[in-house]
Structure formats: structure tokens, C-alpha cells
Point group: D3
């Protein structure tokens, strides 16, 4: 328990936070959760509080999740070994059925349950799959990968409407083609596509790192702010940790696609989302198109 703060310290924080609250009111923010964050129930609780608080001051919050580790576990439970090619899951019909059950029927449900358990008398979380009302229209990527798709179109009407009604959509990244056939979709990429289609103010990636590190081996080398051009240069020169590349590319694509800010923050810090959004200095990495900070 932190000791009580002086009135003037309190006033200082509030005077600092209120303009951000004003600025974000009515704006949309897409928050992407990785598989790691999902299984820590205490972090989930803090995140649920954060998005409920942001929602209560008028921010239109959308959660997007993947769930690779959980899919692997379920595949193994039914006796099927996960298979990858170039880092992408080979997805035959049986695998697809398991992917869908785990994402839509398990992870999404658990997030909805955690949020609704914190909502008090009015449960506001609603689970949505990318297949619903044509949210994520996909085209197949490569027949060798099976049912793995790229998002070719986003129909965000349903999401806008749920937000208009004060609800909090939690989106599983399964898409479908025009014939209704479902496909497995990369979650970082799907979150970006949704944020761009919604004209979101921000996309926030919760990761298991403090943000973008100038030296991947040194957690103190956090880069606080950079432009999408600077980010793309680092990606090209491989001066970033390899595992971060898809997420960083999604960030650059998001801001170049019209999202005002992309953030990569440490999902392991409780209330990281609130601190990043409502304080001047934030705690992670912020990417913007132009360098006019």
C-alpha cells in the first residue's frame, strides 16, 4: 500500500491527467493482449479495471486477443502435435476447429468473464469473433499453410455499434472468406487492421517486454518515442530483437494507416495501460507518424 499523497501532489497528477482524459473522450483505443498476459489472473484483473475506467470516462475500448500457447496445449490434449512453417501455424481443418474452440470458446470467454465480474451491476463485455457480421474478411495466404488467411477487409460497423451502446467488445482473431469458411489470422496484424478500419486514436500492444529496446539485451535502453520511419529503419537494419519484428511492423503500418499513436508497453506491470495513457511520460514506447511530439 502506497502512503497517502499530499493534496498538492494529488492536484499535480490530476491536473496532468485530465487533459488526456479530455483528449481521449470519444476516441477509440484498440488494446492487443498476447498469450502470456492472458494466463496471469492478477494482471487480467488490473487490465479489466483499466479498460472499465477508461470506458467510464468515454474512451471507446476494444480488446483483441490471440492465444498461441493455449491452442498448442489443446491440440496436444486431443493428441495432435502443433506444426509450424516459417513461424506460421499449419492449419488443417481439424486444427482450425481447435483454434476456433480455444480462441472463441475459451480465451475470449475468460476475458469476458473477468471484465463482467468487475463491471458491477451492468456487465459490459461482449465476445466477438472476426467471423461475426463480416468483421474480418480474409483471403487465404498460401495453400501449403491450409486455413491461414490475411485480412483483406474489415467491417467495423458491429464494433462501432457495440461501443455506441456503451459495450466493450473482446475480439477473437478468427476471420472468414465470402463463403463463410473460417480462417486462422495473425492477432497482431488483425488488431492493426481493426484499429486502422475504426480510425482509432491509438493501438496498444501489451507485451512481455518494457517496449522497444535500443539494445535488446538491456532493459534500461528503452526507446520512449520514435516515428514510423525511424522504426522501419531499425527493422530493416535488424537492430531490434527478431521476435518483435511482426509487432513492430504492425505498429508502423498502423500509424502510417492513420492511427494517431501506436504503443508497445509492458503487460507485466499492473495498470500499465492507465499509466501509459494518462501520464505525461508514459512507461513504454510510443510510435507516431511525424516527429512533432
Amino acid at each position: 500500500m502506497t502512503p497517502p499523497l499530499s493534496p498538492s501532489a494529488t492536484a499535480q497528477i490530476l491536473v496532468e491527467a485530465l487533459p488526456y482524459i479530455r483528449q481521449f473522450a470519444g476516441k477509440s483505443i484498440v488494446v492487443k493482449l498476447g498469450g502470456a498476459a492472458i494466463d496471469d489472473s492478477e494482471l487480467d484483473l488490473a487490465l479489466a479495471q483499466d479498460v472499465l475506467l477508461l470506458r467510464s470516462v468515454g474512451v471507446r475500448c476494444v480488446l483483441v486477443h490471440g492465444g498461441g500457447p493455449q491452442v498448442d496445449a489443446m491440440l496436444r490434449r486431443v493428441g495432435k502435435e502443433p506444426e509450424f512453417r516459417d513461424g506460421l501455424r499449419v492449419t488443417d481443418a481439424e486444427t482450425l476447429e481447435i483454434v476456433r474452440m480455444v480462441l472463441v470458446g475459451k480465451i475470449n470467454r475468460e476475458l469476458v468473464a473477468t471484465i463482467n465480474g468487475q463491471s458491477g451491476a451492468e456487465p459490459v463485455a461482449v465476445g466477438v469473433s472476426g467471423e461475426d457480421a463480416g468483421l474480418l474478411i480474409v483471403t487465404p495466404r498460401d495453400s501449403a499453410l491450409g486455413f491461414v488467411g490475411d485480412v483483406s477487409e474489415v467491417r467495423a460497423d458491429l464494433i462501432h455499434r457495440l461501443l455506441d451502446d456503451g459495450l466493450l467488445p473482446v475480439i477473437s482473431t478468427v476471420g472468414a472468406d465470402a463463403g463463410g469458411q473460417p480462417y486462422n489470422v495473425n492477432a497482431d496484424e488483425a488488431a492493426r487492421a481493426i484499429a486502422v478500419a475504426m480510425g482509432a486514436e491509438k493501438i496498444v500492444y501489451l507485451t512481455a517486454a518494457p517496449g522497444l529496446l535500443a539494445d535488446p539485451a538491456d532493459e534500461a535502453s528503452l526507446v520512449h518515442r520514435l516515428t514510423s520511419d525511424e522504426l522501419r529503419e531499425r527493422i530493416t537494419h535488424r537492430s531490434v530483437g527478431g521476435g518483435m519484428i511482426p509487432k513492430l511492423t504492425a505498429c508502423a503500418d498502423a500509424v502510417d494507416g492513420g492511427v494517431s499513436f501506436a504503443h508497445i508497453i509492458d503487460g507485466r506491470v499492473p495498470h500499465a495501460l492507465l499509466i501509459e495513457l494518462l501520464t505525461e511520460h508514459g512507461i513504454g514506447t510510443m510510435i507516431k507518424r511525424e516527429a512533432s511530439w
Copy 2:
């Protein structure tokens, strides 16, 4: 392929159907599918066409589904034997997780995919779980049964809003208590609760029988129309097939709760829904509160 009909025969059917179409426009109809119907893809296709057609003339259609057989199959696949007490599934935490994955992540998804595959350029089906936005608030039934709940409140706002937007909700019958804890719920009963809460015009149960039979052994003994009082009397005197009792009770409760009509029709007949709703004689059993046919 049926031979082409004469203009006057065609006019006769249209003159007969149009008043029903007018009467149902803007009204809500809840259709409950049983597990049997779900696995026949041809029937699913005809049903998808029927609800899309009804929707296209202004009927507000809601699909509700269960999925007992499919849950049993998945439980066995992960090495767990289904267990029942008085016909109700004993639902421990692990079973609940499987129930949720199968209903929300598999059956619901397949229905959504079939309908959206028939929707043309505008996918309209949206999967919903009873946990979303407090749709089905439940209280536990009996601690010996584990996570089995009774619907104590229905928050139909989400459903109304989806219908207002021209969408077609497909509902899985998982509910939650105030703390967000999910529960397994009987699907016939959940469909009734939803229909009553929505002030639906009709609830239609698609079954594997022609309707209510005066003599359960004789398919020709179909009862076309009866009141809820007459139905309750038959239930009391056990003059109906035992397996039908929960569904029949739900029908009686629905019309006594304000739903104008309950129907039990043969889900094995293609387009049964359309024929029941848009022709004078129908093909199944219709239950109403008062005998003013």
C-alpha cells in the same frame, strides 16, 4: 424438382402468405434448434435460407441452440465420460470449459458460418453467448450438479440492438452469475426466457418429430392447435411422450409469459419454418393462450 405452378395457384399462395408477412414484419421470432438438426448440413442450409428470407421481409429472427451430443463427443475425445443426474449434466469446472468450447467455439460458429455463407455480400449472422453483456443471468440450481444454472434474468438489450442493425443473432446457452462465473443452462428453457424477455411474437422449437402427437406412437395423430391450459393438462396426465415434456412445458410457459404463439415443428422437413409461418394450415403444433383461433 416440382413442376411449375399455374398463375392462379401461385396467386393463391401469395395472397395467402402476404398477410402473414405483413403481420410478422417488425415482430421477433425465436427459433430453437436441437442438437440433431445441427449436424445435417442440408437442413442447416434450408434453415439458413428460411431465416434469411424471413429477415429480408422484416421479421426479427433469433436462433438459439444447445448441443448435448456434440458436448458428449468432445468430452470423450479428451478422455472424460459424460455424467448425468436426473437427466441433467453434472458440470464440474473441466466439463464447463468443454461445454463452453463446444457451444460457443464450435456449434455457434458453424451456424454463423452457414448463414453468412448464404448472406451474399453482407454477412449478417453474429454469434452471441449468454454471458455477453449480461444476456443470461443465472443462479446455480443444485450444488450436486456443479455449474448448472437457472435463468433468473434476461438482459435482451444487446439482442434488440443487433436486430435493429439488421443482424441475426445466434445464441449459445451459456449464462453467468453476477460475478462473471459461467454456468451451463438448459437450451429449451433459455430460449423460452429469451422469447419472453424480448416480447417475441413466436417461439418455434425445431424437433425430430412432426409436433405434438395425440398418440406418441402414431405420427398421423398430430395435434394442430391447443391452448396452454390444454397442453398443461396433457403434460399432467402424461399423455405425451416423456422426452417431449421439458419442451412442452417451455411452450406453455412461453405463451403464458406473453409470447403470442409457440410452435413445435419437424426440423427434418426442409423449409419447415417457412411453411409453418407463412401458410394457413402450417405443418406442426401451435400453442396459444386463448382458444380464439
Copy 3:
């Protein structure tokens, strides 16, 4: 009485008709009645049912009528011989007064009475003259013809508003110039001008023939579909019955003016309108701008 149809035949017709109903909902359809149809009370009844049914599923129906034979009869009754020049009625002030009394005060009223007698508790038909609220603004055609005018402008606001209110306008084809002076107007032509001004989906001419006949002497030579260019070529080459030329020209002008479809159907067949609009094959001749059937 036609024998009852099998459920599957019924389903077939409904599955066929429902997309048309969906397609026409909210669209406007202008139906022109000739003098012959007007005096057969049984046909009138069937037509009244048809337009009421179409209205009940959201079609915006407008009836337009002329009444040459009835005007002739009334003129003779007050001792005045009808006079024509090149097929057009010579209309002096006294004749104009009789034209107006017969069209607005007699035929229009009878159609309104027939429809309202079928409307049940809510009479929906409203008689309108082209003089009302500037509906048909005309310029005189030829001083030798007296008060015979051509439609130079249509102010369809009144008609749109009546339709918005769920009413069914029945229009007499009397127009007026800017000074309020009334003029006699050709009804086929007025119907076309109204349909074009309303942006109607369809204009339907009810005639005393099956439609356009390839061989005017052979009722079996019905042309089901043709483009406005094909129609104009037939008119130019006089390969159509002479009496049909004004109506056919009006059809070509209507579709070239933006009405999606023009239909010529047999007003002597009961429910011809319903059959033409809600079945795949129709019963008359349909004209469209492009040949993309």
C-alpha cells in the same frame, strides 16, 4: 377453387417470391389503369387487394387512371357530342368541366371507395388530382385542341409524403398551368412523367391485351422481355398494333428516364399485378434499358 398445394410446392413459391418482396420493399411502383379495367368491379376488387397486399409489405404503390369512355358517356348525357382530332379530345371549357367532374369526381372516387372498402379499419386510399399542390404542371399543346396540355413538370412531394404516411394515392390526370388553369392530360403519358419524377422502380400498364405481341393477331406471340431500344425499333417499323403505340412509347420513355422496369400486363387476369411482380416468369411484357436480365 384450386386444390390445396403440397408443402414443398408452397415452399417453392414462397422461396421464389420472398426475394422479390425484399427487393421491392421501400421502392415505388406506379400502376396505370385504363378505362376498360375500371368498369369491371370484380377486377377492381382483385386489383385493390393486390395493391393493398403490396403496400402491406412495404411497396409504395401509386395508382394513375384515365377514363375516356366514361367522359364520353357523361358528355352525351348532358347533350354534347365528344370530338377528337388526331386521336386527341378537343377540349373546350365546357368539356374540360365534364372531364374534371368525371375523372376527379367519379372514377377517382370509385377507385378510392373500392380500396377503402377493402382496407378494413384503416382506410388508406386518397384521391389526388394533378392540379393539387402543383403535381402536374402543364403547358398547352395546340390551341386548336383547347385545354389539352403536356406535362412540363411534376412536383411529386405530395405523393412522396402520402406514401411516407402509409397512404395510397389514386391520381386523376388533370393538370394545371402556373395560373391555376386546368388542362386535360393524356393518362399514359402522365403516369410515365410521375414515375420518372418519383424515381419509381417500376411502371405497370394494365391493358386489355396480354402484353406486347410479336404478331398482333396472335395472343400466343407474347414478347416476354425486351430493351427500350428493341422496343423503339419495333415502334419505328410499325411491327406492333397501332393502338398500342402511345403506351409503348411511354414505356420506352419511362425506362430511358430512369424507371428500372416498365411492364405491360393483362388487366383482365385477376391478380395479374401480383403474379407479374412476385414470380420469376411473370405474365406480360417487361421492358428494361439494358439487356442484362
Copy 4:
């Protein structure tokens, strides 16, 4: 031509009139024209100007007309002698057809033409019959009189909607029963029923007399104001000219039915309507429920 007035005299009249204009803005006024006024084209012109001016400052004007003399003339023209019983026209089917043609097809049309000829670029008059959209629902009065009806219900929706659209309804007093059968209706009485149903502020009867005369033989004995009770007493004691009784009864019924004021004014004075409504002293007789002048 009156000589130009001084600025101060002008200011005096305007200062006096403006509060009335304010008071009537948005209120409905029903004006009943008798057969006499109808045939004087100069008076018609002045009346058309008056209602157009009142409409232009926001008064919702409705004209109602009868037309006994004109019906008599047309009946005689087709060789039929008018027949009356107790002052009421015996109306067989043939007479009814003539009544309808003369009222709806001739007098109504002439009023519409005169007003629209004065409306400039935007014709605003719309002819309406009591048969349209159930405006005047009637019940037969007495089988001996044939198709003579009493107004049992007024559906003023159509009139309100036309007024909402800035239009000026001109109503012929033909009504219909639930089956669509038309009936002849007394025009003074129909005007009253319409005014009451509309919640009109005023009903104004234009007559061929200065108003109610204390001594029917002395035009200088005009009664300026009286209550409905006082009026009923004069009717009972026959201290009024016999021909005026139906009109006076209609006035008393109107104000007792909720119309704020009934006026009887001299239709032979040009602009009588404007003078009565916009000056302090008026020129005719005003009837009100309470004596709080």
C-alpha cells in the same frame, strides 16, 4: 383606392395586428364557405389572398365547402329534379353520384384553381374529399333520405400532415362508411366536426349576412360577442332567423367541443376574414364558451 395612411396610423394598425398574428401562429383555423360565396369570383380571389396571407404567417388554414345550389343546377342539367325532405336532400344513388361530381369534381377544383393561381411559384392548395383516408366516417341518418349520413368519426391525420407540409387543404363534405360507401353530409356540421377533431383554435362561417342579428330584420343590430349558452338560449327562443339555426347550432357545438372561438362573418365583404381575425373589433359575431372577453 384608399389614400395612403400616415406612418403613425400604419404603426397603430400593425401594433394592433401583430399580437393576433403571434397568437394564431401554429394554430388551426377552419373556414367554411357557403354556396353563395363560391360563385363570386372576386370574393373568391380576396378569400384566396386572405388564406394565403394567414398561411404565410404560420396559421394552419383549412377550407370546407358545400355546394347545394350547384348540385341542384347539375341535377337539372341531367334531367333530374332535386328533392328535399325537412330541408335535407333526398339522395338516391344517382343523386349521390351527381353530388360527388359537383362537390369533388367541380367546386373543390375551382377553389383549388383560384388559390393555386394566387400562390405564385408554389401551388399549395390540395383538394380532399371526406372519403379520403377515412377523413369523415359516417353513419346513415334515415333510410328515407337515402345516402345522407352523419359524421360519427373524423380521422384528421391526413389534414394535419398536409398542414405540416405547408399545404392548404380544401375539403369537400362527402363522407363514407366503413365499407367505403359514400354519403352526402351537411357541410356546416362537417366543418364543425373537423374543427373539433383538429383541436382548431377557430371555426369561421362565411355567410351572406353580417353575422348574428338581434333583430333579423335590422342589419345594424349585429351581436358582436356572445357565449355558447347565450347563443343556445336565443336558438331555443327562436329569436334568430330560422335559416341561421343549423349554422348557429354548429357554432355552439364547436365551442362546447373545444374550439376556442366560432365566428359568423359576412362573406360578401372583401377580406372579411383578415379583418375579423387581425383587428381588435372584428366585423362579425364571435362565440366563445366563457364570457371572459
Copy 5:
């Protein structure tokens, strides 16, 4: 007291005035009062009646006032001699405070009180300063003059909203720069800027002269109408009284800026405003852009 007018004279004035009332309904009119008019309580009363009457028939009236003489008096009362340079008040901080107190706290209040005292049960006048909600954004004119500003931007939203609510804004001509610093502003010029920004139909200057005089020495030489070009030519050639030049320039600028008409009228004539606006000939000078009277 003028003698009562004949009905026909009354009708003549009303028939003449009503089209103007119709024409102005919903339009905005800005009325500028000079210091002289302000201190005559009888004139104030007549003006209050005029604007209330105009408002009551839908005219959107705005009053703008200055108050030079009253400021001088107050300055002297606190022992400070007014100082002018080129006809402009030298405005140091202390003077500015007095200007503001007199305009906003005294003159504006007295006008509001007079109007509200005439409004009956619903006081409608609302005092507004140019500082409120950024109504008059100014830039300093000349440092030698101190706090004297020119209007660089008008934010008329507040005024529109008050008018939408049926209120009557009375505006003091004090402005402010972006930092909130107030400035003294010329009232004729501020009135013009407001009228242009509002897209007003008319601006009316109440002065202590009959209008623009062809011969400044001869009150009978009133110029009734002229174009802004003609007016500018007279200003250039100094063929107008010198004291009128700023007001005349404001008139020319107003109509060139989009105000349909500028009027200069004699504020010493009671009800001058009403007479100018609602009679054909008016009593002052009217300026328009084009000579199409």
C-alpha cells in the same frame, strides 16, 4: 390618439404588411442604437415593443449598442477627463474599466430591463458582451490609443443559439483578444461585423437624423434608396454630412459583405423600426448591393 380606421383601410395595411412579415420570418435583423436614443425612455419603450413584436412573428432580432455620452459622464464622475485622438477615445486601463462598467453594467442592463418589463410573463432579453464566448475577437488598432481594438473575427454561435431559444440578445461592443484582454470597439463597426457574420437579412442603424440627406442641410432631401456603389461615391465626394461617414461606410461594407439590406432610419420617430420594415415605402434610407428594387 389616431381615429379608428375603416375596415378597408385596415385591410389595405395588413395586406401590405403580411408579405413582409412572411419574408422576414426566420431571418436575422441587427438593430444598432446610438447613445442619443438610449436616454429617451419613451423611445426605448416603443423600440422594445417593436423588437418584441417582430420577434413574436419569427424575426430573429439582435440589438447592438454603444454609449459614448454615458461613458464620458461616468469618467467625469470619477474625476477623469475623456480624451480623444482623431475622433477615437484614448483608452487606458482605467478608462477601459469605466467603459466596460458603463456599457455592460449600465446601458446594456437598462435596455434588458426595458424589454423584459414589456415581455410579460416571459422575459426574453439577455445581455451579452462581445467578450462572451469569443463573440468579438479583436486586434489592437494603434498603441497610442491604448485598448482600442478592431474586430478581426466574430463567433456568432452564442447569438444564434440564444435566437434559436427565442431569446433576444442585447450586445455591448466590448471585445477581447485571444488572451482574454478586453478592448473598446466602435459600435457601428461591431454591429456591421456581427450582421455580416450572422448572415443577417438586414442591419438597421437608428440615428438622430431622417436618414441619408442629399443636402445635409435639408431634411426634405432624404434619399430613399441607393446602392452601395452609389453610397461609396457620395462618401468619396464628401457629399454627405461628415459625422455620418463612419455609419455610411459601415452600411456599404455590410451589404457588400452579404447583408441583404442596410437601413438608416430616424430613431426619434416612435415605432420607426416597424414602419420601415413592414410598409412599402418605409421612412428612411435603404442601401442594397444591386439596383434591382
Copy 6:
């Protein structure tokens, strides 16, 4: 400058403040400033920031001010000695004119200027007098006091509308009777009447004391919370400083009149308003009707 706070301390304050922000969004808060606070420009700046921040998160803020000391100073400047009877200002016509000039033309203006100087590109403050649009309708208190009135009715429409438009009303406490005659009104009392009429959530009195002190001589004896009944008891038993009694009575009347909370806080502490409203413990005294804290 306070040292930067740790992320977790920041998160703690934000998590605490956000529910208050949510709770107050859309609610109205009336803030009364005393004469002392008004002349400290630094405090004024902090207050301007506070109300602008609260407004930016959806709180509907209204400022109400008096100005006794400033009126006294101006009276003396024009050579008139202030005169009081029982603590109330004797207000003759000349005094009233000075009161109005000082309150409306000076203090109100300075508050508006300070706020608009902080508003950035969109000035939002609008000065309002209680005379405007009938905001404060008063009746005279006692003829011996001259133009001193009691608020008998509040017409808060204007205030609601300004708030609806995102504006920030600053109200001077001058009222008027039905004839438009202005009156001097006690500011604490006027603030209460406005808060009650608006159905405000809170009324906050900024004073030159920490709040209500149990021992008026001991600033450490602050009473944090009490009910209106407890407060009235203290007033009755005079266990409060005499000078506070009118303000305390106004607080009790406010909460008994429907305002949810009354606050008395120390206007000498910068950002006192923000701290009181957005932290759990506040810094002054809060009065509520019921003791359910």
C-alpha cells in the same frame, strides 16, 4: 515543484479519481466565489483551470459571484458612503446602479476574461446577470432596504442551454421583478436557489476558511462531513462562527432542496475545488441530507 511520482502512486491516484469523474460527468456543479477570492489573480487562475478541467470531462460548471468589498470601493470612489442595516446593504436607486455596474460590468467581466484567457482557441465563459431571461425573479424584501430582493423563482433554462452548448456561465447576483426593475440579491442565497432550480449535484462555497470548524478558533477542528440536520442543530446552538451562518444555512437549504451535496472549502488553497471533488478524503466540509456516507 513536486518531485515526479512513481508509476504506482500515479496509478493509485488515477484509479481513485476516475470513478468520481465518471460519477460527475453530465452532472451540474454550482461554485460560489466570495469577494475575497476574487481579487487574488493567482487563485483566480487556478480556479479557472479547475473549472475548465472539470468542464473538459463533462461536468457542467456554473460560477456564481457576489462582490461586496468591490461595491463599497466604487461607491466611495463616486463619493457615496456604503450603508448597511442588519448586515444588509441599503440600496437606493443610485446604489443599485453602482452595484450593477460593479457586479455585472467589472467583477463578472474579470472572471470571464481570466477563464477565456485560459480557454485556448475556444473561449467558453459567458457572463450572465440574474436579470437575463428571467433567471432570478425577485420580490422586494423590505421597503426600508430599498432595492434588496429575495429570489422567488429561478428560470434556469438559459443556464441549461449554455451548458448544453459547452459554455461556462458566470452569474452576477442581480435579479429583477416582473416589471423588469432590478434588485440587489444576496449571493450565497442566489447560488443556493440556482443550484436547487438546476437540480445540481453539488454546490461548493469557496471561503476564506478551511470549512466548518467545530471550534471556530481552531483550524484543526475541521468537520469533514455532517448531515443537514446536524448542521441546522449547530446553527441553532450557535456553535459556529457567526459570520458563517448565512452560508451554512444556504448549505442546509440546498441539500434539503434536492442538491445531493454542499461543500464549504478553502478558497485560499490552489486547486481546492479539484482536490475536494476528485479525491476520497477531500479538504473541506461536506454536507449531505442522509448520513449514508
